[in-house]
Symmetry: C2
């Protein structure tokens, strides 16, 4: 039996779902000779660690209890009630994770899993890579920091997996990495990478006013609490940056032209969410309706996409042929078109649900299993 030690950072929705997946797949992985041994779990302030990281893991009852505790909104500090473990707090957390990485990195190996949303894990991840650990990311931030840090981080790209940072579990990054490895030259990537904006564009296509569509999306819980977090396009830009860098572009977030679907004067500093929803949105309706109308009259449809071509990455509304994969897209699925030497006229297309804790955590687990050959 090959034992793969894991340390999970972040036990929000994705992290907890991952722990459930690990518990649920024990027998499946045992059949393949694999044992996933969770040696530690941290949230933003606390870390719980198995008594002896070389030989033990936090057992499944303990992990299930931990998930229950976290989903009730409590802190990890109460976890010593539920079984033998070491508990570390605040500034001790990072120090202890580095200790574990140093102990296991070059001996048994360790997968450090980042399911947090923090921009502060990157230093720790860098050290862990240097110590021989593998990294699996659902957190986009370590891949969207400034280019010098990124290049330093990915020097040992084979130790890193990050499928769930773009399109949740959809095999977008896996496929791009295969294409690049085969020497196929990627000319262009165009993707609808936000389920929310995919839904919005598809409703607009049916002739509904923008304000009505956004309100409906919010009431269906398709948007962030402040819908401007979706409409601004920054989340799409972060995913675009990750793909662009994989393709070799040495760019930063600042280099991406991002077209927001609302004007600056309706920004969060100038309008409350309620003002934006009630008074702001209707002021945008006419402009967007005209753009929808114009593209339709030319046989096109309007999509909110990320486009990577040549040395440029841009995010915003684009007119696309009605009769193309992105043009035919309806609803909240993500869809990525990859044009390359092998997929020249007609792209390689990957489409499916691009959000949700279940599929995101499934992508993380597939990444972990994909690393198994790096373990003794």
């Amino acid at each position: 039996m090959k034992s793969i030690p894991l340390l999970l950072m972040g036990c929000g929705g994705v992290g907890r779902q991952l722990l459930h997946h690990i518990i649920d797949t024990r027998s499946l992985h045992a059949k393949q000779g694999l044992l996933l041994r969770v040696v530690g779990v941290s949230d933003s302030q606390t870390l719980v660690v198995a008594p002896d990281v070389f030989t033990t893991g936090l057992n499944d009852n303990y992990l299930a209890e931990l998930c229950r505790l976290k989903s009730s909104g409590s802190s990890l500090t109460a976890m010593n009630k539920f079984g033998e473990c070491q508990i570390f707090k605040n500034f001790e957390v990072t120090k202890k994770i580095v200790d574990v990485a140093a102990l296991l990195g070059r001996s048994t190996g360790l997968v450090l899993i980042d399911c947090s949303a923090s921009s502060e894990t990157v230093g720790l991840l860098n050290r862990a890579v240097d110590l021989g650990c593998c990294i699996v990311l659902a957190n986009k931030k370590p891949l969207t920091s400034k280019i010098e840090d990124y290049e330093n981080f990915v020097l040992n790209l084979r130790q890193i997996r990050c499928e769930s940072t773009v399109g949740a579990g959809l095999p977008v990054i896996t496929s791009l990495i295969r294409i690049i490895a085969s020497g196929d030259t990627v000319h262009r990537v165009v993707g609808s990478l936000s389920g929310t904006l995919g839904y919005v564009m598809s409703e607009l296509e049916d002739g509904k006013p923008f304000s009505q569509v956004v309100r409906a999306a919010k009431s269906l819980d398709y948007t962030e609490p402040d819908p401007r977090d979706d409409l601004g396009g920054m989340d799409v830009a972060r995913k675009g940056l990750i793909l662009a860098r994989l393709l070799g572009l040495k760019i930063n977030m600042d280099d991406i032209k991002v077209d927001s679907l609302y004007p600056d004067e309706m920004g969060p500093c100038l309008m409350t969410i309620e003002e934006f929803m009630d008074k702001g949105l209707p002021l945008i309706d006419k402009d967007i309706a005209e753009r929808v109308q114009k593209s339709s009259s030319e046989g096109n449809v309007l999509r909110y996409v990320c486009t990577i071509e040549g040395s440029r990455c841009q995010v915003g509304l684009q007119e696309l042929p009605k009769n193309s994969p992105l043009g035919r897209l309806r609803g909240s699925d993500n869809l990525v078109e990859i044009y390359s030497r092998c997929y020249k006229k007609l792209p390689l297309v990957i489409q499916g649900a691009g959000a949700g804790n279940d599929t995101t955590a499934a992508g993380v687990l597939a990444d972990v299993i994909d690393l198994q050959d790096r373990f003794p």
Copy 2:
């Protein structure tokens, strides 16, 4: 620099394209610290091997010369003119490949690449796996032999890659393996896995008669020399069997219900190609036109697909909603819909060119690179 020794069996179109890709990607792979060292190449009768398989490889000029020779229809026996090599013939070929596999398998490692179309490589591949070698397949036959042989062969599945056996370079198998590894449960896979039949169905949808469409496809070189090799569905069934077995179905080719697009009495033993094209085909027109008409009247379209669901795999015409990924498919692209716990109502969709030497060889090369962590 990590050196990965390769031995290529089969130097038809895909094998030769692979050698070209290997030569063309040398600098790309060197940047990642990889050296692909081609220690031997065989066709059906001859094997050429580098002088010392531990330290040398056949050099790029030699490999380019080999490609030229083979594309001109010559045998590999003439290769000693072009550089230092050992040449083996007929019954010596397999014996020598086993020797190389034994020498390298447990020391430096070896990737044995099967780009042949032979059903006789499976014994050799089995021995190579036992000797610690990795296997990359473009050849479908080793995965479609009887289930006992298959199960024996895939006992060490991590040593085997086979992306190019289904949909050429499309990441269908990679994606399925990720989904399975993550513990996601696959309920149903439906795929249009023949570019030829995809083209035919899409032309039928436009109201053209079957006979006319098949004749056009033949004159465009979209079909095999005998179009019945496509229309019979056996190639689709072989791909379906590979996917079904990956999903855990313990079935053989015989267990797959295959609906041919021509009746038995028009088979190759009873009609020449010309008779079939001139007299046979028009007799099928009415029946197929009725089926196209019927499905259209119900808001559906007719597709020739492979369906894997529960414990069954079947191949043939199926009515699918016009407004589904397969329903919207046009032309010769392959398309696979995967329904699972994570992709329940709306499937994970992978679409793109599913044939061609360039993309098939690119898939093989991506598989080789994917094995790098198994090499010291």
